[in-house]
C-alpha cells in the first residue's frame, strides 16, 4: 500500500464540480421529518431520502460523477466495477445515461432483483463467489480483458466527491446541523460527508453507524489501522465491505465515532421506519436510527441529519416475514 502522501484525495472543489456535473442525472432528494422519531429520540432528525435517488440509492451520485468525468476516449471502452448491489446498479444507470458499456462483477448470492435491475439499465452482470477475495480476483480478469475503466464502489476520488454532494444538499436545505450520521460499509458516503462538512460546516459532528456483525470500521477506528473481514454476515448487506485507504483517511481524520447496532435492533428500526415514515428502505439505512435510539445522550436536543442510503429491497424477503 502506498503511503498517505501518495493517495489522490478529492477536495471540496471536486464536490462542487461534481454537483454541477451530475445535476442532470440525479434527484435532489427530499428531506423528511418525523415527530414520532423526534419524540422517541429527543433529537430533531432530518432524513435525507436517498432511497428516492436515481437507481434507488445515493451511489448514483458517485457513479454519475465518475462516468461523466471520463474523456470520450476512456468512455468508449466502458466502465467496470465490483459491487454487492447498489454501486453496480448505479454505475449501470450512469453508463446508460452516457451510452457506454458497463460490466458489473456481483456475488452470485446478491438479490435477484438487483441483478435484473443492472441488466435493465443495460449493464452486464458477471458473477463471483460471495467473498471479498473472489470478487477481487474475478474482477481483475474482467478489467484486463475489456480495458474498461475501473470505478471502485468507494475507494475512488471521483466517487467520494460525488457522494459528497448529498451532505452539500443537506446543508444548503437545512442550514446548520449539529450532527450527521450515515451507515458505513466501505465508507464512501461517510467520506463524502467528511469532505463536504469539513469545509461547509466544520462544527457538525460526523457519526458512522455500523452493524455489530460487520464491525470492521469500528475496529479500524478503535485500533488506528484498517481491519477487514472477508465475508461477514449481516442483514445490512450493503455494509459488508471493508474500508480502503481513501475512505480510511476521511474516517480517521473527521469521524467523531463509529456506533454499532445488532441485527435485531436494525430490523426493529427498519420496520419502525416503514411503519411510521412510510418509506421503503434497505436494512442498511436502518442502522443510523438504531444507533441513535441506543445513544440518545449523544443526540438529544440536537439537529441531526440522517442519510437514508437506499431503497432496493426484495419485497418477497422482508426481514420480519416468517
Amino acid at each position: 500500500m502506498r503511503g498517505e502522501d501518495d493517495i489522490d484525495l478529492p477536495t471540496f472543489d471536486d464536490v462542487a464540480a461534481a454537483h454541477e456535473r451530475i445535476r442532470p442525472y440525479i434527484h435532489r432528494t427530499p428531506i423528511l421529518t418525523s415527530e414520532t422519531f423526534d419524540r422517541m429520540t429527543g433529537a430533531k432528525l432530518f432524513f435525507k431520502c436517498e432511497n428516492f435517488q436515481k437507481a434507488g440509492a445515493f451511489k448514483a451520485r458517485g457513479a454519475s460523477n465518475a462516468v461523466f468525468s471520463l474523456s470520450d476516449e476512456q468512455a468508449a471502452k466502458g466502465v467496470a466495477t465490483h459491487s454487492s448491489g447498489n454501486h453496480g446498479l448505479s454505475l449501470s444507470y450512469a453508463a446508460g445515461r452516457r451510452g457506454i458499456p458497463c460490466k458489473v462483477v456481483m456475488p452470485r448470492t446478491a438479490p435477484e432483483p438487483k441483478k435484473a435491475a443492472v441488466r435493465g439499465y443495460g449493464g452486464e452482470v458477471i458473477e463471483c463467489e460471495p467473498s471479498t477475495s473472489s470478487r477481487e480476483a474475478v474482477f481483475a480478469e474482467v478489467v484486463a480483458s475489456s480495458g474498461a475503466e475501473f470505478v471502485h464502489p468507494y475507494n475512488d476520488p471521483r466517487v467520494i466527491a460525488g457522494q459528497g454532494t448529498c451532505s452539500k444538499e443537506m446543508i444548503e436545505d437545512l442550514g446548520e446541523l449539529d450532527a450527521v450520521i450515515a451507515p458505513i460499509g466501505g465508507g464512501g458516503m461517510v467520506s463524502g460527508c467528511c469532505l463536504t462538512l469539513s469545509t461547509l460546516s466544520p462544527s457538525t459532528k460526523i457519526y458512522a453507524a455500523e452493524p455489530q456483525a460487520a464491525d470492521d470500521a469500528y475496529q479500524s477506528f478503535k485500533s488506528g489501522e484498517i481491519v477487514a473481514y472477508d465475508a461477514p454476515v449481516t442483514i445490512a448487506d450493503g455494509l459488508k465491505v471493508p474500508l480502503k485507504e481513501r475512505t480510511w483517511h476521511f474516517v480517521r481524520t473527521y469521524v467523531e465515532d463509529v456506533l454499532l447496532a445488532d441485527e435485531d435492533e436494525i430490523v426493529d428500526a427498519m420496520r419502525l421506519t416503514w411503519e411510521r415514515m412510510k418509506i421503503v428502505m434497505e436494512p442498511s439505512c436502518a442502522v443510523p436510527l438504531a444507533t441513535i435510539l441506543k445513544n440518545k445522550h449523544l443526540f438529544a436536543g440536537k439537529r441531526v441529519g440522517v442519510v437514508v442510503t437506499g431503497g432496493n429491497v426484495d419485497l418477497d424477503k422482508l426481514p420480519w416475514m416468517k
Copy 2:
C-alpha cells in the same frame, strides 16, 4: 333525503380558510416523480404523497379542519365518527392536538395497527360489525349517549373543504395540470379536488379511480343516482364506502370519468410503486396508477397529478405475501 337545494356545500373560500386553519397541524406533503412510470404510461405523473401526511393519510386535513372549526363549547363534548380506519385515526390525531375527547366506531375486522394507532393518539375505539348498516346503528347510540360532535368521514362540508387543501397545494407547487386522479371511496378527496380545481384550474380534468369489486361510484356515475353496497370485498379497504349527497354533488358535477381496476391490477400497481418509488402506501392508493396503466390514451402526453392517499398498511399482511 333533502333536496340538493338544502345541502350545505363548502365553497372554495372554505378551502382557503381551511388551509390557514390547519397549517400548523398538517404536512405540506412532497410531490414525487418517476421516470419509470412516465415511460410506462407516456404521461408526466406527479405523485402527491399524502402517505407522508400526519396520521398517515390525507384524512388529517379534513379531520383537522373539522376539529379546529368547533366552538369551545362544542369541542368540550368531543368528537365522534365511524371509519374503516384512516378518518378515525386522523380525527383522533386532530382531537389530540386540540386536547378534546374522540370516539371512533370501527369494524371489528379493521387492521389491529389502525385500532392501536387510534388509541395511541388518545381516541376511544368502539367496535361494530363490518357492514355499513351495523356501523351506522352502533354509531347512533354513541352520539346519543355522549353528545359528541359527529364528524362524518366525508359527507361533511368541513371535511370536504379540508381535503380540498391537497389539490390546492398541487396547483400551487406544480402550476397547471391537465388532469388529477384520486381514489374514490366515499368521495371526500375527489370532492375536495372538484371544489378546489373548479375554481383554481377549471380546465383540469378530474378522474376518480375505483376498485371494480366495489364499483358503487362508477355505477352511480353511469346511472345518475347514488348506488350503494352494504359490504363489498376488495383489497383496497379504504374504498368500500358509498357516496353520500354532498360528495355525489361534486362527483356528478365535476368528475370527467370513474375508472376501474380489478384486484390483481391493484396489487400489481401497489407492488410496482413500492419497488420503484420506494414508498409505503395502501392498496387504495394503487388504484389510480392501475387505471392509468389501463387507460394510457387518456393520459399520454399530459401532466397528471396523482393523489397517493395514505400509507397505513399492516406490514405482516402485504398482499403479495403467500
